[in-house]
Amino acid sequence: MEAQLNRSIKEVIKDFPPVEKILDEYGIGCGPCAVGLCLLKDIVSIHNLPADQEQEMMGRISQVIQPGQKVQIPRAERKPEAKPKELKYSPPMKKLVDEHVLIKKWLALIPEILPRLDLESEEGRQLIRDGVDFIRSYADGFHHAKEEDILFKFFDENLDMVKVMREDHKTARNHVKAIVEGLEGKDRQTVVHHLSAYRDLLSQHIKREDEIMLPWMDNQLSVSQVGEMFSKFLEVEERMDSYQKKYEDFISRVERKYRKKEE
């Protein structure tokens, strides 16, 4: 069990598939992760579960890895019990979190759009084109650009967390490429499949960023670096200053259309 704690989660799940389900039951979504480089022991300490839940989970995992063996679970380094999570971010990080809010609104719309999606109609195709534009210009061009061109540059590129996030961005872009191809071929199945997959991926990705990566990164940055990042973000926002309003309007329009239809 000791040895397993120091292995990457990808390898642990490969050798012991039930571990994925156990983690998922405690809200730890390592399964869908494309990269899986994080070590099992780091995953446990980062998630900071209440003591009894952590013991229980680790007990079950050790049963899978070494069935029948009575194992002493080394307690992860305890941080003081987290109060109801009111995460506080530095100003530049808060901007990223606020942008996530808009992207999450789009993700929430996807399951409402897809069942009624009709690629034969111009309306249906335009909706997908607009959605792709939102993803490519706002989520990617505006938001991910801040992350990749500015935020990540403050850290070692070889950090597991940075690699994982970049991989997610890449995978997301591939889904979008497939959506565009599906759109051109009026291939509804392809569009639905990739847009759903995009939604699943981004939901997990954003949750991880908001709850784990951004707070951790905030802790690593000096006051000076926060100021630098803040001012670089401001430059991006000045260059792309119509984006926030334009895409907020887009989301409002779609929400009004699809939520009204349900009544």
Partner: protein
Amino acid sequence: MAQFSGCPGSRMVDFREKSDHNKEEAKGTIQSQLRQWPIQLHLISPTASYYQGADVLLTADCVGYALGGFHPEFLKGKSLAIACPKLDEGQDIYQEKIKSWIDDAKINTLTVLIMQVPCCMGLLNLAQQAAKGAKRKVPVKYVVAGIQGEILKEEWA
């Protein structure tokens, strides 16, 4: 604001380069991280060279007496000004100076370091009002020190 006023007490001196901030600390000896004079908010010129693009620390008078590690933990790498929000006279000029830091000296960040006593909040309020009135935006951090030398709070405003 006169670059060179008669009184040496308020004559501007910038000694960022001359001091050797990274010298090995002899056991128990703290290196001075102060790189400027004057330091009182009443006396400083907000556009002095050491404020340009700097990370600025605005701190209450008493903080140096409560925090033993003020230099290495808070002053290092920053330019500062000290003031007392309770006892200082003529505080209208304070807001103007802070605004000037932000808009004219284009500082990178502003950290406000105060004591836990209620009257000290006035310094944070002052800074936040000034930041609201400024044209540029900078991140503002505030730190609250206890009278026994502990850090009670450290947050971005």
